[in-house]
């Protein structure tokens, strides 16, 4: 058994976890504090990847990420590289797929924040951006941690979207879940068992951490 798929899954999960706050904070903040009609539409759009089949999402991403698609052609003109069947490509897909898993806990955390703290910050002269990083972020640490860990654990188990966008190129796009699937198809049950046995406790520990963080937040 090779460790490469497990390490690639960990790398993908880690990169997704680090990068997703950049994408998740603005919509989570807007959904929590915004006051306009477009809110429910944005909410539905962001939650969409959570409810549609991963293969459908993967197919949609594949269409836009090919060298002739909107995202793929832009990426290629900027970097000279193809987006599909690359690690960057599966990372992009992972960010889209995980967005609702990051936004929802963040939004819940922002909504729990006493709104008067934001008003107090405004009266004390803070701009909305200063209020965000000096008041909102420090008071929503547990929500941010919960969101990050959920995204990490969820990324470890990604299958359909990654398969559609990245295929199964060993060392490049073949993550653990795909390697397990292929091992089972090739009747290499022992390899599948070892990789599964390595993933389950990791996910379990991460879920325990989420529960602990949520428990702390509730108290």
């Amino acid at each position: 058994m090779t460790l490469e798929p497990l390490l690639l899954s960990a790398k993908l999960a880690f990169c997704t976890m680090v990068l997703i706050p950049l994408l998740a904070f603005p919509p989570a903040y807007f959904l929590a504090f915004g006051k306009c009609r477009g809110k429910s539409i944005l909410d539905a759009l962001i939650t969409l990847p959570m409810v549609i089949p991963p293969t459908v999402l993967g197919f949609g991403l594949l269409v836009v990420m090919t060298p002739t698609g909107a995202v793929g052609s832009t990426w290629q003109s900027l970097t000279g590289d193809r987006l599909i069947f690359s690690f960057t490509g599966i990372l992009f897909a992972s960010l889209v797929f995980n967005l609702p898993f990051a936004v929802q806990p963040l939004r819940a955390s922002f909504e729990k924040l006493d709104k008067r703290l934001l008003e107090s910050a405004a009266v004390l002269g803070l701009s909305p951006f200063q209020t965000f990083y000096r008041v909102v972020l420090p008071n929503c640490v547990s929500g941010i941690v919960a969101s990050s860990i959920l995204v990490f654990a969820h990324s470890l188990g990604e299958f359909g979207v990654i398969l559609m966008v990245g295929g199964s190129i060993p060392g490049k796009t073949q993550v653990a879940s795909i390697a397990i699937f292929e091992a089972v198809e090739a009747l290499r049950y022992e390899d599948a068992l070892y990789m599964s046995a390595a993933l389950v406790p990791v996910c379990f520990v991460f879920l325990l951490i989420i529960n602990a963080v949520n428990g702390r937040q509730r108290s």
Partner: protein, 253 residues
């Protein structure tokens, strides 16, 4: 520093309307029952809500003018605001909460001393008492060296003893503040104790009738002892233009 207010705002069930001038070194107490629009008024002055019509001017500077289309955001009004409940930032110590607002860090220590909370400077808000939290909130509001101090029922969540102490502390420091202070309360006794000018509000509008009814009710309830006659002893009387003005410094004890 003078705050000139002439605003109106339509709420779901009532219209808040007020026209008054609040001079420096003076505390204007706005008193009235719950739901009379007092807090909405304070929020409009702070820039947290926008009036439908009218003007708010601080000296020569226009904060709001519906005719001129001016609405200065809360960030740029430089007011001090103390809320009914404690709104210190929970992730910061008392000292850092005050420093948060201070442009001149030297002010922080002076304020901590004035309000007698130097000993809790390194504690976080959740580990101090309600009275201490409200003292810290006053420090935070004053640390920005505001052009007006707005108080939204700052003592209503405190026990009687702590409330009394803080009321007297406010009486003491208000003489040193060269700014207008607007104090919203539903407690008539507090308004008469602290206010240089008292404005009664009911259903969103100035209401001398409400004030007279309340004074009379208290007068009867205490068999003629308090506080109606004491109000008169203090020189409180209804002025033309619906305002109640106390003409000397004696208060109701």
């Amino acid at each position: 520093m003078t705050l000139s207010i002439s605003v109106s705002k339509q709420l779901e069930t009532l219209t808040v309307e007020l026209e008054t001038v609040c001079p420096s070194n003076s505390l204007t107490a706005i008193v009235g029952p719950s739901g009379s629009g007092k807090t909405t008024l304070i929020r409009m002055l702070a820039g947290l809500e926008t009036p439908d019509a009218g003007t708010i001017r601080c000296n020569e500077k226009t904060w709001f003018s519906s005719k001129e289309g001016i609405s200065v955001p809360a960030q740029h009004r430089r007011v001090g605001l103390v809320f009914q409940d404690y709104t210190l930032f929970p992730h910061l110590t008392v000292e850092k909460n005050i420093l948060f607002a201070a442009e001149n860090p030297d002010v922080t220590l002076d304020l901590l001393k004035t309000f007698g909370i130097t000993h809790i400077r390194n504690k976080k808000p959740h580990s101090i008492s309600g009275g201490e939290r409200q003292r810290a909130a006053f420090c935070q509001a004053l640390a920005r060296e505001p052009v007006a101090l707005l108080l939204d029922e700052p003592f209503s969540a405190l026990d009687v003893t702590t409330r009394r102490k803080l009321q007297h502390l406010l009486l003491e420091i208000k003489t040193r503040l060269p700014i207008p202070i607007i104090h919203v309360t539903h407690d008539l006794e507090e308004a008469t104790l602290l206010g240089d000018t008292i404005i009664a509000m009911e259903q969103g509008k100035e209401s001398p009738n409400w004030l007279n009814t309340q004074l009379l009710a208290a007068h009867h309830a205490t068999r003629g002892n308090l506080p109606y006659e004491q109000c008169h002893q203090c020189g409180i009387h209804a002025q033309a233009g619906y305002k109640i003005k106390r003409e000397n410094n004696a208060g109701i004890r």
